[in-house]
Subunit: 340 residues, 2 copies
DNA sequence: CTGAAAGCGCTTACAG
DNA sequence: CTGAAAGCGCTTACAG
């Protein structure tokens, strides 16, 4: 089945040279004469030599494999990050192994261990929502460079690549204030979600800086920030005496659920109630009115994370604990502001 | 940085046994006494022994890595297939390396070669749209089991896991006929798209079997079947004298573009013109009216493809050339039929 | 400038 | 039931 592959040995026999010399010639070692190098490289090309990466990795204790762990590969934003990771890793000569944790802390630990067992050179990870215990993750970074992206955590001392969520949320709220909104509700996740908390901070800061009173009654926390919950929470917000004039949902899906409910009650968007989401998903341009949201450059997050990780892999001194923020930006659409 | 890991040698020293015995004990070899096995396994667990997969793979010429090549990881349907692949592979003890071809035939070949160089045990692939030359792919299957999924090709002699596209399209068209439609347009891709051609066949067969004349004027081919093209082609279809009373777009995005255009012209959907898509994307329930479409069970495609591939990897005699069809099913929504 | 030899961690045919 | 030894394909310190 397998073709007999060209090995160093074969090249050596063919050219009456030693395996060592062949190896050095192909690796462009300074000791080897130009003439020899050329000869060897020519033959290697002719016989279609490809190094056995496993032998190489085995020998050098380096695999050129990066392990990537995400909660759910089917989330559009996640998949754009993965795209950036694949692209950048491939450019740098690294292969990528992807696993899903399915937002299951136990599976997450299992997957981390399998990756270690696989001798990955480094790990990129977006942590699962239910991760309240980070001990297992801390064990991992004893062994191998780790960088968190998107769903990060300040409990883990490692570099992190994230969106400027606080600021992005701030900008979104400021935009609502600028168009005259004064009573802005938020639908967020519970306090275990790092991203949600950061967006919430931006919300609070914007209100404070613009001297808008904060009202707990229109600050809604849910466990699972889905389209369905968006619908339900919109219902809830409509039921209170003093209705909001804008709703910031910290995900697009929830925001879309909000819009659907508002439409059901024939509420004018954005005149009566404006709606803002977060992440610029595909759906955000399909819903009517189109959703104002924050675009998150997924590919850049991915490629940036890879760059930092490879830096740490190839230069262990560079292992750090910094947070790199990638700027998202507000995209204003009809759900907050109608042109014309 | 790296912790010194427990190796077979270390276990051997600790127990005054040979490396061979340790290896056999851990692999549950029948020759080894129960007593020894127990002793070894206990110590291995205690010292947290993990086999060096690279050494193992190197030795056995088997890596337990599956290479997966897809055009674009960010397509929702693709990501659901990947989810199924990851799940099933993980269950069977295989790791998955994913690469993107970005619908670029050259990159596709490059990626295949990198995978071979990586000694993957087998390859799963969804072929790029622009693949008109399959020679490079044929070279690959000389070396390693290959299974195509979703975007397949009858020019490649290997097993393929696909949706029953012809039949699904047939069902969609038959549904349109059942609700009284008589002039059904199709927006498809050009003849190089295998999937498009199969859906087109289903369209033709349904019309023929129901004695509906086929009219070239409402059979539209585009190079790139996108939302934008859906809009443009809907415009075109509206401009002809004898308008269609239904439009089958072979992707959801194109179908959504069609709906948007019809709405712009205040055409009643489905009364004046019904619309059907294909693939049950997230967007198909966000657009109004919600889109009738064909649900494709992505995870099952992925897990099935992995099962067949592992079968071929572990039992080379089983390498086949069969086509496994996974059934999609029609989801009827408001774009063709309004309940009440 | 080139080569012989050791070794990365494992499995397995051979021997006892 | 257990062990000694070879070997997977490569790199590299050592020697010349």
């Amino acid at each position: 089945m397998k073709k007999e592959t060209t090995s160093l040995k074969k090249l050596a026999q063919e050219l009456n040279l030693s395996v060592s010399t062949i190896s050095r010639a192909l690796n462009d070692h300074p000791d080897i004469s130009e003439a020899t190098k050329e000869k060897v490289q020519k033959l290697a090309a002719k016989l279609n030599y490809v190094p056995n990466i496993f032998a190489k990795g085995f020998r050098q204790q380096k695999t050129n494999i990066i392990g990537v762990l995400v909660p759910n590969i089917t989330h559009y934003f996640t998949s754009t990050i993965l795209k950036g990771i694949l692209e950048e890793a491939s450019l740098k000569g690294y292969r990528v192994i992807i696993s899903e944790s399915n937002n299951d802390a136990i599976k997450q630990t299992e997957m981390l261990n399998t990756m270690l067992q696989f001798n990955v050179d480094g790990i990129l990870m977006s942590i699962s929502k239910v991760t309240r215990e980070v001990d297992d993750i801390l064990k991992v970074i004893d062994n191998v460079p780790l960088i968190l992206f998107d769903k990060a955590s300040n409990k883990i001392p490692c570099s992190q690549v994230v969106i400027n969520e606080e600021e992005s949320a701030y900008n979104a709220i400021e935009h609502l204030i600028n168009i005259g909104k004064k009573r802005i509700a938020i639908i967020k996740e519970n306090e275990y979600s790092y991203n949600s908390e950061r967006r919430y901070s931006g919300y609070l800061r914007a209100l404070k800086e613009h001297n808008i009173p904060i009202d707990e009654k229109i600050i809604i926390s849910v466990d699972d920030i889905s389209l369905r919950q968006g619908r339900r929470m919109a219902n809830l917000l409509l039921s209170i005496k003093n209705k909001p004039d804008a709703i910031f949902a910290i995900t697009d899906s929830a925001a879309i659920g909000v819009i659907q409910t508002l439409k059901k009650f024939n509420i004018n968007i954005p005149e009566e109630i404006a709606v803002v989401g977060f992440s610029n998903s595909k759906n955000s341009t399909i819903i009517e009115p189109m959703l104002t949201t924050i675009d998150q450059p997924g590919e850049r997050i991915g490629s940036t994370a890879v760059k930092y990780l490879i830096e740490e892999i190839e230069n262990p001194d560079s292992i750090g604990n910094k947070t790199i923020e990638i700027k998202g930006h507000l995209i204003i659409r009809d759900s907050t502001f109608k042109a014309s």
